[in-house]
């Protein structure tokens, strides 16, 4: 019984110890990310997209990536009455938590830029660095989107890199199938 008590003590103390360590790293707000990705935009018109099952299925078919969310937060970036492109906030699975990022897509379906808004993993802070994110610039739906082929992998953060890469590919499919029709 004393063994049980000792072991129980060993179990509970570290559990209590972790409660002090709630963490969150939010690097960018939506307005900050909008400003970085569309510096010339005069306004951002909210354009929340609700997806039907058929649309989600079509996105998966086109990109090879499951569309997890029924709703996608989208803004139309506008300047001088012209559409500069789409600003989309998305979340993908990281090793421990969701990674929140924003993608800027042009109206003709290529990537203008990428900003990581929230990253909470131990390894792989490099995904926030400009040179890693710059690999996505100019990419279109027809590109490969495969780690270590057209996007460099970051060791220790492979799942994060894979899901961010797949996420951008999926957003290009969303742009083609849903946003382009509006």
């Amino acid at each position: 019984m004393t063994d049980a008590r000792t072991f129980g003590f060993m179990l509970t103390m570290p559990v209590l110890a972790i409660s002090q360590s709630v963490y969150a790293k939010d690097y960018l707000s939506v307005p900050q990310a909008q400003k970085l990705l569309f510096p010339d935009a005069e306004s951002f018109a909210p354009h929340t997209v609700s997806l039907t099952k058929a649309q989600k299925k079509a996105i998966k078919k086109l990109s090879g990536v499951r569309q997890r969310w029924d709703e996608q937060k989208v803004w139309k970036a506008v300047a001088g009455g012209k559409t500069l492109g789409w600003f989309i906030v998305d979340e993908v699975v990281g090793k421990h938590e969701f990674i929140t990022y924003a993608a800027a897509l042009s109206a003709d379906g290529h990537v203008l830029g990428l900003e990581v808004m929230s990253y909470r993993e131990t390894h792989g802070d490099e995904v926030m660095q400009a040179d890693w994110r710059a690999q996505f610039k100019g990419k279109t739906l027809g590109d490969v989107f495969k780690l270590d082929e057209d996007i460099a992998n970051i060791s220790g953060a492979t799942l994060s890199c894979r899901n961010l890469t797949d996420g951008v590919h999926r957003l290009l499919a969303l742009e083609k199938l849903v946003l382009n029709r509006g």
Binding site: T2, F7, P14, Y23, K95, R120
Partner: protein, 299 residues
């Protein structure tokens, strides 16, 4: 029990102290089943694991194993580890010819050292299916079951598979491994006449197959379940034992550290049994329950 306490306290202090400084990568989502992932180059992982082996149906039996391990990512595909084991065994009310020669409390004391490595052939996130080879060489001087002096030299080889589902929210892992052991027990003076305690060196071959699933149900929190079949063949008796353990785990993975708690009851077992044993389990070298707790820090 009071003799078990110093070991437990040391484990607790190390675990609690460790949480102050560090952080994740080769983390254990389950108790027994290993992942195929490796640490990135230059990363360290310090893990402290405790296993409480409890109950043999008759009498009162408790074994506590503590493993402290430091792992290092030598390259992005290859990691090395060094581990130290501490152990304490308390046995009351059960003597088994050839296996449990004495009642009492043995330990806590240092029991074994181990060097291990993991080589990653395929990455589960990059190649869709993860595959690694784990190997470990260990030297021990305290019998895990009886607590008696016993020198052992073991070599373990294990193939590890891993697959992500739902973009990594659900993870399958599995392993198949072999462990060969050369064992040499020490003479115990004063045993009753006729009590069997062989002191000739023997060799053992252990085969382990396990598999499990882990699902992230909330940010940083995973629940999982695993099942493990293990059998051992030994020089004298052929197939000495087999057992099936299965049970749940809960895992927390944070930026600074991770931890996993597991309960593995023995569901089925066979092989050698002690006289008068009523349950259909293997309870000579195994117990009815195993409770595991691991905490790890990456930096």
């Amino acid at each position: 029990m009071t003799r078990i306490r110093p070991l437990a306290t040391a484990a607790l202090m190390a675990a609690t102290f460790g949480t102050i400084s560090a952080a994740h990568a080769d983390e254990s989502l389950l108790g027994r089943v290993k992942s195929a992932e490796v640490l990135p180059k230059g990363a360290y992982d310090l893990t402290l694991g405790t296993t409480w082996r409890q109950g043999k149906d008759r009498g009162s039996y408790d074994g506590v194993d503590v493993k402290a391990e430091l792992e290092y990512g030598l390259t992005n595909r290859f990691q090395l580890g060094f581990a130290v084991y501490g152990r304490s065994v308390r046995n009351r009310g059960l003597l088994v010819d050839g296996y449990l020669p004495q009642e009492g409390t043995f330990g806590p004391k240092l029991a074994a050292i181990e060097v291990d490595s993991k080589y990653n052939f395929l990455s589960p996130a990059k190649d869709d299916f993860g595959l690694s080879l784990y190997s470990a060489l260990s030297y021990g001087w305290m019998d895990q079951h009886s607590g008696q002096d016993k020198n052992t030299l073991s070599l373990e080889m294990k193939l590890l598979g891993q697959k992500y589902f739902m973009e990594g929210q659900m993870i399958w892992m599995g392993g198949i491994g072999f462990e060969g052991t050369y064992a040499d027990r020490a003479y115990i003076p004063g045993l009753p006449e006729g009590f069997d305690w062989p002191i000739d060196p023997e060799t053992e071959l252990e085969i382990t197959v396990n598999t499990g699933l882990s699902y992230r149900f909330a940010p940083s929190w995973y629940i999982g379940a695993e099942i493990e079949y293990q059998t051992e063949f030994e020089t004298e008796v052929g197939q000495e034992r087999w057992s099936v353990f299965a049970g749940p785990s809960i895992h927390y993975g944070g930026e600074k550290f991770w931890m996993t708690a597991t309960w593995l009851p023995q569901l089925d077992g066979g092989g050698e049994r002690y006289p008068g044993q009523t349950s259909g389990l293997h309870l000579i070298e195994k117990t009815k329950n195993e409770f595991m707790f691991k905490i790890g820090m990456n930096f």
